[in-house]
């Protein structure tokens, strides 16, 4: 069996960890600076969309209307969307149509 066990989910602050390595050894003086994580309470996907997201929704809706036939449209209007989470879901749906990206490669299931 060569597959590694899946990493346990980290509790606490919800922030994507930067996937970068630290300074190469051949460099000169390196100053390491610790960056604090935001608290877990900072995450609030039920926050009402602010003015920027509201504008983005209007632009996405504009593009949806221009690009998709009526029967394939989501049907929601920007003013129907009440939270950042709902906005993200709608924005992702239309963005996938405008800019399909490759699906993420899934880890193979663990063998016995």
């Amino acid at each position: 069996m060569t597959d590694a066990a899946p990493e346990p989910k980290q509790p606490g602050p919800r922030q994507r960890r930067p996937r970068t390595r630290t300074a190469p050894a051949e460099r000169g003086d390196v100053t390491f600076i610790r960056v604090p994580l935001p608290p877990a309470s900072a995450f609030n996907k039920n926050r009402p969309p602010g003015c920027l997201i509201q504008a983005q929704l209007k632009h996405i809706h504009h593009a949806e209307s221009a690009r998709l036939p009526k029967e394939k449209r989501d049907g929601r209007r920007p003013e129907d969307i009440k939270t950042e989470s709902e906005a993200a879901e709608y924005i992702a749906k239309i963005t996938k149509l405008l800019h399909p990206t490759r699906a993420k490669r899934r880890k193979p299931p663990l063998s016995n």
């Binding site: 930067p18 003086d29 994580l37 995450f43 602010g50």
Partner: protein, 396 residues
């Protein structure tokens, strides 16, 4: 050509959201008096005529809620404080009174004067003090996000002063580069956050786009485009990787999450030695978000457009002849002398971005607006004869 410019193969721009220079970097005046920040003497009157002084009491979240108004009429009040004389005086004295209008709460309105300490923002302030910080980088328009971001993409907003859908009448910097045989990418965070350039570019030229994961991969593999523009995460949401915290720093999103994102972009470039030696990274904010700054925006070269009262929601026509409020801007490269402070005699704005990128990769571009052609370029700051070997690394 200076060796740093000769080595320069990549320009990366990270544009954050809605914070003023004084709010984010004003505290650095205490570290270096050349940095034109705050010293506690700057003030605004509140609605009862009291002087409200700047204070280092900014918080990462929940303090600027509701989101301070930064539409065109609100910014006009923040800058001119209702002055209708001719010519008007840009006193920068209307921030508190403007914020008061949103909640009619005197104490709350005073929070628009708060700024962060250096210790609260270790990423942005470290980059500012280790590389080059601009004393005079202004938003392009005294207005909101989308028209200001348009200046970074097109060198003009085509007469827009708001957030409406618009259609460009000129080529974006990405199209210019492609036409000239160069490469360019706009990286948005993920599909849930997407891009703010939906109508003009994402819809019609999706090949220009990639997600932030791809940016990290491109840095690691050394396949970054000549020019990259990065958009932060605009919302709290779930994706396949779990919960994603907004990193744009737009009020009321968490400022620390934005610090982590800036660190992530920087670390990705810095970790690849070849890329680090050949890249300039600009971290800049699109506009001030209604938050106090003490420097009056200067006049600028008009771009040939005008916005009438129906658009400005004021009694006058705006001829795009004055910049918006000052914003934080930091240029990062190992070819920049440590602790560079770009003087008050050099004025930059977002049209400086396409002008700089065009000049470096293509050369003269007569089709650019007069405004863009007049905008200062910034690559002369890569002035060292020998690349620095010291560096900063953020542990996140």
């Amino acid at each position: 050509m200076p060796p740093g410019l000769d080595a320069l193969k990549h320009i990366v721009v990270l544009m954050m959201e809605n914070r003023s220079f004084d709010h984010m970097l004003g505290s650095l005046k205490a570290v270096n008096p050349q940095i034109d920040g705050v010293d506690g003497t700057q003030w605004n009157p509140d609605t009862q005529g009291n002087q409200v002084f700047v204070q280092p009491l900014a918080e990462f979240q929940s303090q600027l809620d509701p989101d301070p108004d930064h539409a065109f009429p609100a910014v006009d009040q923040q800058i001119f404080n209702g002055d209708q004389s001719n010519p008007r005086v840009a006193s920068m004295k209307g921030f508190v009174q403007n914020y008061f209008q949103q909640q009619q709460d005197l104490a709350h309105s005073q929070k628009i004067m708060y700024y962060f300490t250096q210790q609260q923002l270790p990423v942005l302030t470290s980059l500012a003090t280790n590389f080059a910080v601009f004393n005079r980088w202004f938003a392009s328009i005294p207005g909101p996000t989308l028209c200001n971001r348009a200046f970074a993409h097109y060198g003009t907003s085509f007469g827009q002063v708001g957030m409406n859908v618009f259609y460009p009448q000129g080529k974006s910097i990405y199209e210019r580069l492609q036409d000239a045989g160069h490469t360019a990418k706009l990286y948005y965070f993920d599909q849930q956050s997407s891009s703010l350039e939906v109508v003009n570019l994402l819809q019609h030229q999706p090949a220009l786009f990639a997600t932030y994961d791809q940016f990290l991969a491109d840095c690691k593999s050394g396949t970054l485009s000549d020019y990259s523009f990065i958009e932060p995460n605009y919302s709290d949401h779930d994706n396949d990787d779990g919960e994603q915290l907004a990193s744009d720093q737009h009020p009321d999103h968490n400022v620390q999450a934005g610090e982590l994102f800036i660190a992530s972009v920087y670390n990705a470039i810095q970790a690849n030695a070849t890329l680090w030696a050949s890249t300039a990274l600009l971290v800049v904010y699109d506009e001030h978000g209604g938050i106090f700054d003490h420097i009056a925006p200067p006049a600028c070269t008009p771009d040939g457009y005008s916005a009438g009262p129906a658009d400005t929601q004021l009694s006058y026509t705006f001829n795009f002849d004055r910049l918006g409020v000052r914003v934080p801007a930091v240029l990062i490269s190992p070819w920049i002398p440590k602790g560079t402070v770009v003087g008050t005699d050099r004025v930059f704005e977002h049209a400086s971005i396409p002008n700089t990128v065009t000049n470096h990769f293509i050369g003269p571009y007569p089709a650019a607006t007069p405004r863009e052609q007049a905008a200062q370029t910034f690559l002369d700051l890569l002035s060292l004869d020998t690349m620095r070997t010291d560096s900063v690394v953020f542990n996140t």
